[in-house]
Symmetry: C2
Subunit: 325 residues, 2 copies
């Protein structure tokens, strides 16, 4: 991966897509102070609210080297910030993809980040879920399940792991609350984006990877390749081969009961895709000699090397005749 | 303002600043389903959470024309998306400032957008406030207080107003919940950012404008000019002149009781600054012949013209000997 040099962009534009108006009635009207020097005034929650929209920021190069843009979807409880600068200050995959010559779309999934969220229980039925640093240490496979400690010097990590541990708390600043049971709302916004973007490469992480594998079935006409980085879900069964698939997996999965199950599920799905004649490749990093990657491959110290492998696969796949189309 | 042409950027980097770990204990542990194909599992809210951090995205030109970057702060219930593309798809002030040769920092204030928010009442004492489209129609001065209707064709706007009304619902997709009483948390994060950035021009809108006028008192050594666009608050009294100040006001303020009061308060503050020898200019758009601007000047159809007037003031102010320093 080359060192950073200036990039010429013809536009950086952002927009919201999907969503609808939702009218709320019958709620009480409290008195609240809003501005710092303002007097308390009635704040009426009754009225129209927007629900289900998604924020997208598009980076458009002056001279893209590739015909297809890359669309980036983050995982659960995250935002598009995942793809930007790493928590320890290195350029993230967004910048690296621009350097490689791709236009890039970065999304904040509905209810997260700049997509905003709606009141509960008046609009969303349930309260959100907040992830603790304690749980993430285990679920993101930085160390053993009981390895987290509030005191950074007392935390226990896996030997040889690749995450910049000194920046774990900074990484935790990116995490946002999320809701269970909002799959349809999220899928609808992703569908609207894919219809808007047209032909593209879809690259998605974790929960976003599950959405991407579903989208590859529904938008096989415009998604020309799908890269699911540690997807936590997948459709029940493929109806057709869809575009070329690549899944990417880090280290320490076999020893983790949740991740072992997620991966087994996705591996089975890819096997079924192949029986339909689909291209479904797996980049198993430890099996190929790359050790220590966590769930957040794009932030790991060797993240550029992981991306280089993905780009090699993309170049080869998109250059080849489309066997499955 | 020139038409858009490509811009060379040496970096677009994002980071979180401010914030601290907060340990939660004693809350119940519900069973919840997180991934689409996953089984329900215990989600323990007890543990460490990050609170009070702020997301910042920095756009760094390959060859900035100005020595000082511009730092952009949005208003209440908003995010940095306010400064990006306008809801009807025109380049926003972020892009225009880059075109003019400024490096730019765009912030999402704490608890909003990519800065994330924390659980209530366990961490934040109060629930958030949600703004309806109905209320915004009035408070943003698009039309009379009873002018909003769910049906867009039935909405009544002020004659000659400048907001792209057909994109009002799209604009509403940008709005995020906010909390009252979090001024200290927000100020702390802004202070951390200003210490990080060093010498800069601070440009802020609405609630952000109130924070900016306060910051100009506390960081008079590094804020070289402050532009408060329709600030909704200000400090009680200035202790010293601070850097050069400009406030910018749109139309239909006198007829609106809340805005009339906000403006009178800020005008008095500027008058006091002048008695301390400070430079405190007012760009009253209707008084200078520019009619119809709403509270969201940067999205109004003539937003580029408004920014051009601000840039003219900045150029003249920063070129002049610093009378008040």
């Amino acid at each position: 991966m080359p060192a950073s040099s200036p990039l010429a962009l013809r536009a950086i534009d952002s927009f919201h897509i999907g969503g609808r108006r939702h009218r709320v009635t019958g709620l009480p009207v409290p008195l609240r102070r809003l501005a710092q020097n303002g007097a308390p005034r009635p704040v009426d929650p009754n009225g129209d609210h927007m629900v289900g929209q998604m924020y997208v920021q598009a980076y458009r190069l002056a001279a893209p080297r590739h015909a297809l843009p890359v669309v980036l979807w983050h995982g659960g409880g995250m935002t598009g910030a995942n793809w930007e600068t790493t928590p320890d200050g290195r350029p993230g995959w967004l910048w690296r993809l621009l350097e490689d010559g791709f236009d890039v779309y970065v999304c904040d999934a509905p209810e997260r980040g700049r997509s905003s969220w709606a009141m509960f229980p008046a609009i969303y039925p349930e309260p959100p879920i907040f992830r603790t640093l304690d749980e993430a240490w285990d679920m993101f496979r930085l160390g053993p399940a009981d390895g987290y400690d509030s005191e950074p010097t007392q935390r226990r990590a896996f030997a040889g792991q690749q995450f910049p541990l000194e920046s774990f708390d900074t990484f935790a600043m990116q995490w946002v609350p999320r809701w269970a049971g909002h799959e349809v709302m999220t899928s609808d916004a992703y569908d609207a984006l894919l219809a808007h973007v047209g032909p593209c490469i879809l690259m998605a992480h974790s929960q976003g990877g599950g959405f991407a594998l579903r989208a590859a079935q529904r938008h096989a006409d415009t998604i020309r390749a799908v890269v699911a980085v540690e997807p936590s879900g997948c459709p029940d069964a493929p109806a057709h081969p869809g575009p070329p698939h690549l899944t990417v997996w880090g280290d320490n999965i076999e020893a983790h009961p949740v991740w072992r199950a997620y991966r087994a599920n996705v591996d089975s799905y890819l096997a079924e895709l192949r029986t339909h004649g689909g291209m479904a490749d797996i980049l198993d990093l430890p099996a190929s000699g790359v050790r220590g990657n966590t769930h957040f491959l794009m932030m790991d110290r060797n993240g550029d090397d992981v991306l280089a492998r993905i780009l090699t696969w993309l170049d080869a796949t998109l250059a080849a005749p489309a066997a499955s189309q």
